[in-house]
């Protein structure tokens, strides 16, 4: 039996209906699989939602889970991809005391070198935004931590595939109806 656990990005195209997130997440929960990150948004066409879920499982388990997800009435299609097959990003926000921006020269260097963006600055705090791979976000976090972070939040992974998604043609048909 296959035992190698790999990280997969699961992309699920669904109808935009109440309760569907619960139905999809229950499929992972039932198999005692932790969802590492999840994000939900509209897809390339307006009436279709897209979930992007990050999980670590064996590939054979992944295939079975995809089968169970696709079986759900309101799921249009589901796919899984490895990191190599996708372009993926996460996004994060840091809220940091404004004093540090002026007092700690090092912070300005960190901001510059990490290609992070200052979203807003006021007397009390400034907000830093960074998009990128998990390790880049983690590195920025480690660098800023010693100075004191007032708030930190990181989004789930979002990803697009390098190859054309097999669903594209179907979605185009949906758009024509």
């Amino acid at each position: 039996m296959e035992t190698t656990i790999k990280r997969f990005t699961v992309s699920i195209y669904t109808e935009d209906n109440v309760g569907l997130l619960n139905r999809v997440s229950a499929i992972f929960q039932r198999r005692h699989i932790n969802i590492e990150s999840i994000s939900s948004s509209v897809s390339e066409i307006e009436s279709v939602s897209r979930f992007t879920i990050l999980v670590s499982v064996t590939e054979s388990n992944m295939q079975k889970i995809i089968g169970q997800i696709e079986k759900q009435v309101e799921v249009i299609r589901a796919y899984y991809h490895t990191d190599e097959e996708t372009i993926y990003q996460e996004s994060c926000l840091f809220k940091i005391s404004s004093d540090l921006l002026f007092d700690e020269r090092q912070i300005q260097n960190i901001v510059k070198e990490s290609h992070a963006r200052i979203v807003t600055v006021n007397r009390e705090f400034f907000v830093l935004e960074k998009s990128g791979r998990r390790h880049e976000v983690d590195q920025l976090y480690r660098e800023l931590k010693p100075f004191g972070i007032m708030q930190f939040v990181r989004s789930g992974r979002i990803a697009v595939t390098k190859e054309k998604m097999k669903i594209t043609h179907l979605l185009e048909q949906f758009n024509q109806v």
Partner: protein, 577 residues
């Protein structure tokens, strides 16, 4: 709700009638051809009951004595008739009581539409009286579920519910309707659902796969068919018979596949699985081509997966793509409705008889007959066996009865020994193993096929889980023949305790009431049999009786069901004692 139904015709709105949501629910059910529904009233579903009051001639409501009974009755109705079973309940505890039946229907692919009342939409999430998140609770055990908060959604959602429940691989659907949506009014037009863009009920038939399957079957020297309920659900019985007769394929069944072809058919080699027949289990691990049709390789069928049919090429005919390679890897997967795929397969098969291979089944059957079957059906020792009771039912029903069973030893014995001449005759809880299934399911079965004899065979444990449905039988006079096989034990658990827990009978002995008195209290004719000499006459009397009947048979308390594949063992390590 998003408009996901493919075809909608707004021109019909001109003929719309203004009515309440609750009347729309009832009219929608009638439009779907529903004749009978099973349910239990309560606060949040009262407007629907009020509407039902006005449609009593068109829609028969059966008041069960517990909501679990309503779902099981709806299942029994669905399983014998092939139609969608409908259950109705109020919010909160009424809704949660449906869950066992819904979960049972989900795992056994039974089409159900369950409608629950819900607190008014303004109170959702407020912990209102009898509020429970039934959509959340039922999500993992339904094929689809949906909450309706606006009266105008009702016809479309009910149409979608029936379409989903009965199409493709059937299953249970739950519709939760808030009380304000039941009271509000709408312009009612009913249009059946014919498609949902995100849902493909059956995969498209791939002729190339059918051809590869045919080639493999035609080359096989030692083929074995294992069929499941898919044959019955797709109405494939006749073409299935032609397939096995043409290619001379010995065919074994899973518990839910039983009765698709008659028990006496020369190619019917019996049941596979934990308490199945000796020959098909042993020869699963000798066949060269295993042809699985409409079955899902449940662990009770396969035993230890790593040693299951490893020598064989596996062909899997299946409607649900998620079942392919789930438990057993298929060399050839033929996706689609069993009837359509088998119809495509039939003309490609070459005539064969496989006589010497079939001889192996006969030889192994003889061993099982000598060591087990004879002793079960024609015992000489004191103490009645469950098998001889089933044998007498076979004799007096002439194999025409539908047998509804509960869960445990009696279920295995009934499935092993019941004679079925007609399809849709074995109604039991397979995947979920729900004790308490049989009594209410038998009521539904009798109503789904009033012309048929329905015999409920139940153990003393499961019987007491839904015994209150005797009240439903009394009130409706559903002519169910109840055969209670009483061994004063939870027999199957006791058997495992004997074999695997050194006879430590922890909480398996039952101190039982006088079952005859209980049935008599519901004015059922009753009979108790404790001696072999009385059995024949009693069964004859029961079968001849016109109306419901209760019979208790006191059977040997510590008898075991064999053959048996111990949990985790290989199918070929099946034990005869």
């Amino acid at each position: 709700m998003q408009t996901t139904t493919i075809k909608s015709d707004t021109s019909k709105l001109q003929n719309a009638q203004r009515m309440t949501g609750s009347e729309a629910i009832v009219r929608s059910l009638i439009a779907e051809g529903v004749e009978v529904i099973y349910g239990y009233p309560g606060g949040a579903i009262m407007p629907v009951y009020d509407a039902l009051y006005h449609f009593q001639d068109e829609l028969h409501h059966v008041l069960t004595r517990h909501e679990q009974g309503a779902t099981h009755a709806a299942q029994g109705y669905a399983r014998i008739s092939g139609k969608v079973g409908v259950a109705l309940a109020t919010s909160g505890p009424g809704a949660t009581n449906l869950i066992t039946g819904i979960a049972d229907a989900q795992i056994d692919s039974t089409p159900l539409v369950c409608i629950t009342g819900q607190v008014p939409s303004g109170l959702l999430g407020s912990d209102a009286f009898q509020e429970t998140d039934i959509v959340g609770i039922s999500t993992p055990v339904t094929k689809w579920n949906h909450q309706v908060t606006k009266a105008s959604e009702i016809p479309q959602v009910i149409a979608k519910a029936f379409y989903i429940a009965r199409s493709g691989r059937p299953g249970p659907v739950l519709i939760d309707i808030t009380k304000d949506a039941q009271f509000d009014t709408l312009d009612f037009v009913y249009q059946k659902c014919t498609g949902i863009r995100s849902y493909t009920p059956e995969p498209q038939l791939n002729l190339a796969c059918v051809k590869s399957a045919a080639a493999l079957i035609n080359q096989a020297k030692k083929p074995l068919v294992v069929w499941g309920q898919g044959v019955i659900l797709s109405g494939a019985e006749e073409v299935f018979r032609s397939v096995i007769e043409t290619a001379g394929l010995p065919a074994a069944w899973t518990i839910l596949g039983a009765s698709a072809i008659e028990t006496s058919h020369p190619l019917n080699v019996g049941m596979v699985g934990m308490h199945g027949n000796y020959a098909p289990n042993v020869l699963t691990n000798e066949c060269d081509v295993l042809i699985a049709i409409g079955m899902r390789f449940d662990d009770r069928v396969t035993g230890h997966l790593e040693t299951y049919a490893k020598q064989a090429k596996v062909i899997h005919f299946e409607i649900d793509p998620a079942e392919i390679n789930k438990n057993v890897t298929a060399d050839i997967a033929v996706l689609g409705d069993a009837k359509k795929t088998l119809e495509a397969l039939l003309p490609l098969l070459t005539q064969n008889t496989h006589e010497s291979w079939r001889g192996r089944f006969a030889a192994l059957h003889e061993i099982e007959y000598d060591q087990i079957i004879q002793r079960d059906l024609f015992p000489t020792k004191e103490g009645l066996t469950m098998g001889e009771v089933i044998h007498k039912i076979n004799v007096y029903s002439k194999g025409e009865a539908a047998i509804v069973t509960d869960v445990g030893q009696h279920q295995m014995i009934a499935c092993r020994y019941a004679h079925f001449n007609q399809t849709k005759s074995n109604i039991t809880s397979g995947g979920l193993g729900t004790m308490g299934f049989a009594l209410p399911a038998a009521i539904g079965a009798k109503m789904g096929a009033p012309e048929r004899e329905v015999v409920a065979v139940i153990g003393d444990g499961g019987y007491q889980m839904t015994i209150q449905e005797l009240g439903t039988i009394f009130q409706t006079q559903a002519a169910v023949k109840i055969v209670l096989l009483n061994n004063n034990f939870l027999g199957m658990v006791r058997q495992w305790q004997q074999l695997f827990f050194d006879k430590r009978y922890a909480s398996t002995e039952l101190i039982n009431p006088d079952f005859g008195m209980i049935a008599s209290a519901y004015h059922l004719p009753t009979k108790k049999v404790a001696q072999r000499a009385d059995l024949d006459g009693a069964i004859a009397e029961m079968m001849a009786h016109d109306g419901p009947y209760f019979m208790e048979v006191v059977v040997e308390p510590e008898a075991n069901v064999f053959p048996m594949i111990p949990s985790g063992a290989s199918v070929s390590d099946i034990r005869l004692s």
